[in-house]
Symmetry: C2
Subunit: 309 residues, 2 copies
């Protein structure tokens, strides 16, 4: 299977530059640097992969529009990228997604189709077939992986002697790209995936050396609602090739990390976005550590409750 | 009176680079870009001026330590800068300052002296006299102004065709430096100060063409606790030379801006840090606008209450 290369990721960096914020590394007091992707215009790193996937489409194909299915941040990213290209986006969202994510997707001018969770992929495929629009998958595509991998390039540019990069894992698109970039540029740096204990299928798969399925119901238990997907064949191949370990954090550790990020880094972070920091707080590693803070799309009332609890 | 020059500010940028985060401009949807200085290691832009002031001291003078009096963010900035230089900092803080700011100052290794608000400056001067340490003023010093002015350089580098830069005004150190940089590089850009209606002494002074004193009690009414100082002769001279207007916002508009920043920009911002955004929301100007988001040091419980109200 062809894996995404450093060259792919470097080409992606040039293509996505107009659409993404060049996020800084934020130094913390204890050997930790944050990569705050919550500051992207859609509040999450997903704009990198989505914009790159659209930029790579032939113009006449792109003009027929794009479709995505997503529990949230990928939806906003595809909607925002489509708006930047001036094309139509149709987003299929599970009807139990957080309201803030649905509203934000509509605010980008996308048409939103709400369906029961199990039907989202099939409905998206039907719509693509019927309209000629291109389906942009949330993680299982080399262009999406290469776009997310630009985070790895930026980390190495800003902190060349990084020892460990902590990356949340759900479908695995982010860690696939980041690990491909980091291992090409600095093989001695460790790339470590982080999952909730309640959705630890990637950790189990990594240890088993083969993908171990967890039921959607099991994966849906965690408060980290962006970490409920499972690895694809493509992303698992990247994990096997480039990733050093996958560790897990508890629900309480995730919420503690949200509070620490608000207080010490002045960032509004969704629980999903805080898991890498949770792993650092639980068990710091020697040397300079970077935690990718993936997103900040949380209902303000929910965020206020987490801060007050 | 000698005003701070572009050359001074460019020299400051080189000196402070090791200590400050090169904050990005964050594009919003409505012609607004945010300059999120809340992401600095002390949670506020004040590290720029404080670190620069320390960097400019002769080494044998700096070794005797530094003293500051501050209602908050300047205290943390001097404490953090002193820690980076490995020297002692003594910080005189009014005994009614927010707990989060006092704790954060101590966390940087500084000695904290709590005094009643009216005594803070005199006590700081006594301590400096007694110990040989250097007093680092919060705004009334060319080195502090030049350090804050580096924000203006970065704004112009990232958005060369900016039309308006909105800057909170308290003692005026920030707007003095930013305006000196912006007007030197792009005279057609407007630099506009923003104050709370309840502490609008700079706006009144700007219109009168002479400093108009407001009582400390009057200036203390606003929720924006970092905007209760008054202009010095030096900063007022910069305002007269470089600033186009000073506008005001209400307490409600300030709190609305805090909520908007949490929801749309995923930033934890203190009320003081939100006034420039409040001015944009109240009355947007034509062309590209930058709002300087000055700080994010707010008690999490207070922040949660603002979000929930």
């Amino acid at each position: 299977m062809d894996l995404v290369t450093l060259t792919d990721i470097q080409a992606a960096a040039a293509l996505i530059a107009p659409a993404v914020v060049r996020t800084p590394l934020l130094p913390q007091d204890d050997g930790l640097w944050l990569k705050p992707e919550s500051l992207q215009r859609v509040g999450a790193f997903k704009i990198r992969g989505a914009y790159h996937a659209l930029a790579r489409l032939p113009e006449q194909v792109r003009a027929r529009g794009v479709i995505a299915y997503s529990s949230g941040n990928h939806a906003q990213a595809v909607a925002s990228a489509a708006a930047l290209f001036g094309i139509k986006a149709t987003i299929v969202i599970p009807d139990n997604a957080p309201a803030v994510k649905i509203e934000a997707t509509r605010a980008h001018g996308a048409e939103v189709v709400l369906v029961p969770m199990p039907e989202r992929e099939s409905r998206a495929r039907e719509l693509a077939e019927a309209t000629g629009a291109t389906l942009v998958p949330p993680f299982d595509h080399p262009d999406v992986i290469a776009g997310q991998g630009t985070i790895g390039l930026e980390v190495l540019a800003d902190l060349p002697d990084v020892a460990t990069v902590l990356v949340p894992v759900s479908g695995g698109g982010l860690i696939s790209g980041v690990a491909a970039a980091v291992k090409a540029l600095r093989p001695s740096a460790a790339v470590v995936g982080v999952e909730p204990e309640l959705a630890a299928d990637a950790a189990e798969s990594f240890r088993a050396g083969a993908r171990v399925p967890w039921s959607p119901a099991d994966r849906a238990r965690t408060v980290a609602d962006g970490l409920r997907a499972e690895l694809s064949e493509l992303t698992f191949a990247h994990l096997r090739a480039f990733v050093d370990d996958v560790v897990t954090v508890s629900e309480g550790e995730i919420l503690d990390a949200v509070r620490v990020l608000a207080r010490r880094a002045r960032l509004v972070v969704e629980p999903t976005g805080a898991v890498a920091v949770a792993a650092h707080l639980k068990s710091p590693r020697p040397g300079k550590t970077v935690a990718v803070v993936t997103g900040g799309n949380v209902d303000p009332e929910v965020f206020a409750r987490i801060l007050s609890s």
